[in-house]
């Protein structure tokens, strides 16, 4: 079975994460073809069910990537605020 994925919509990271979880069960080949990527998957029993799951999984990773991109700065600030050790003594260099 071959599924064509539009690389202008789905990043390499999204596709890789999707395939990571599928690779336990299937042998998968990725072939770059311009703005598209052809994903070849062998030995699928129920192709319709597989394709439906594939797109749900891929779209979920796309949603997660949007969240990660939009929140990466605030996440850095939150972790810095949470784990900054304010008990470190700083030397006043102005004197």
């Amino acid at each position: 079975m071959i599924i064509k994925v539009d690389r202008t919509i789905y990043s390499d990271s999204c596709i890789s994460k999707c395939i990571y979880w599928l690779s336990a069960k299937y042998a998968i080949q990725r072939i770059s073809a311009g703005d598209f990527e052809e994903i070849s998957i062998a030995n699928i029993e129920d192709e319709n069910a597989f394709e439906k799951d594939f797109w749900i999984t891929l779209n979920d990773f796309k949603l997660r990537s949007i969240i990660q991109e939009e929140t990466k700065d605030i996440k850095t600030i939150l972790y810095a605020k949470a784990f900054f050790n304010n008990d470190i003594e700083e030397t006043d260099l102005t004197d």
Binding site: Y20, W21, I56, I67, Q68, I74, L78, A82
Partner: protein, 464 residues
Amino acid sequence: MYNLLPFNFTRLSNSEVLVNELGDMIIAPNGTVDAVVNHSLPSNDLYKTLVANHFIYEGIVPPLIDVYALRLRTKKCFLDDFTSLHIFVLTLRCNQNCVYCQASSQNEDSANCSMSKETMDASIKLMFQSPSKKLTVEFQGGEPSLMLDLIHYAITEIEKVNETEKRTVTYVLCTNCFNLTDGLLELCQKHNVLISTSVDGPEWLHNKNRGRTDSYQRVVANINKARAVLGFDRVSALQTTSELGVNYPLETIDEYVNLGFHSIFIRALNPYGLASQNNDWKQYTERFIEFYKKALDYIVEKNKQGVFFVEEFAVIVLRKILTPFTTGFVDLQSPAGIINSVLVYNYDGYVYASDESRMLAEAKDYTFRLGKATDDYEKIVCGDTAKQCAKVWANECIAGCSDCALKTYCGADPVRNYSTQGDMYGYRPTSLLCKKNKAIIEYIISMIIDRGDEVLPIFRSWLL
């Protein structure tokens, strides 16, 4: 107009389950995440819930950013004091022959497999190097009750050092309760030692697993004896689900209720020692998951009938989901419990990263040996082995976990990855630990989604 805060999501029971960095969970209809991400969420009750629970915020900077940061730190507060659980493996000698023994126990009369006083001295010295104000000293084996003199020596020495150290020390004796002598119970009473024991299920099942016809009878008699001397709640029990026991969830729960326990900690077998010879781990894991689900359903039914009875693994998960707090359970931590929360002082004079690490060592695999008990503390907790572990011990940073919506409720386990998959990093799609943890956490969340009115009052009563 609103902005997003970091969160993840998964799909369960025909709903979307949104989880933020704090472990706060919101159950929402399908299509919610898409609307949130595309900034098209209408200003309704769900919108207000998402604002109130730190999923989205209005304005340029989240108004409660300091509260969020404080809560984030609280969720990782198990790191504040560093190692608090110190396991002393006193001996490999044992007086039972459990079919699933994970600790490579030896016969009762075996030689050269018990801790010397010199190793105990060095281990105690090392333990007190830990900055933790609270120290839990856990005596393990083999069967540690066979080492009464060494337990007495250890407690005496620890108390002596603690006169100046002033730590809060808790003692736990992990015993099979097969032979609790009066002398041992007297020692336990004097020093408030908790007894942690194990019953596998009904009498016939327990005896079959333990390789003795009289095991159940003696263990139950000794549990009652210990309760009488130490106090009823000073004796707790962990259950281990053997290959045979996996067929008897209801009978196992009934046994614990009948023995007067108010809780059970349902545990799967780990692939160490004799247990590693299990024929089919994949099949066992699937059967264990079904065992767990049936047992948890049955426990909920018991509670509905007025019997207060708790499943401890579920409590750990529920505490992470329903409260702002975390737990001290080392198997569901990120960064992992190894070294950060637990150190193991083995009878062989070496220090290991976890209980499982010393079990690997019995198979001549010393990957997680941190050093000798006589080594400097810094070499043990900041040495090369610790540094290797540190690269892969946070599930926020490893493939398969970092994108998992349930990672806040789960943990990283480099030792299990190594022992079952050959490397510390691991491969989540075929990891049976991932499969088991995910299945159980998802089941608990599904119960909340599908039967919230029925199960939430019970689950909340378990957290009081």
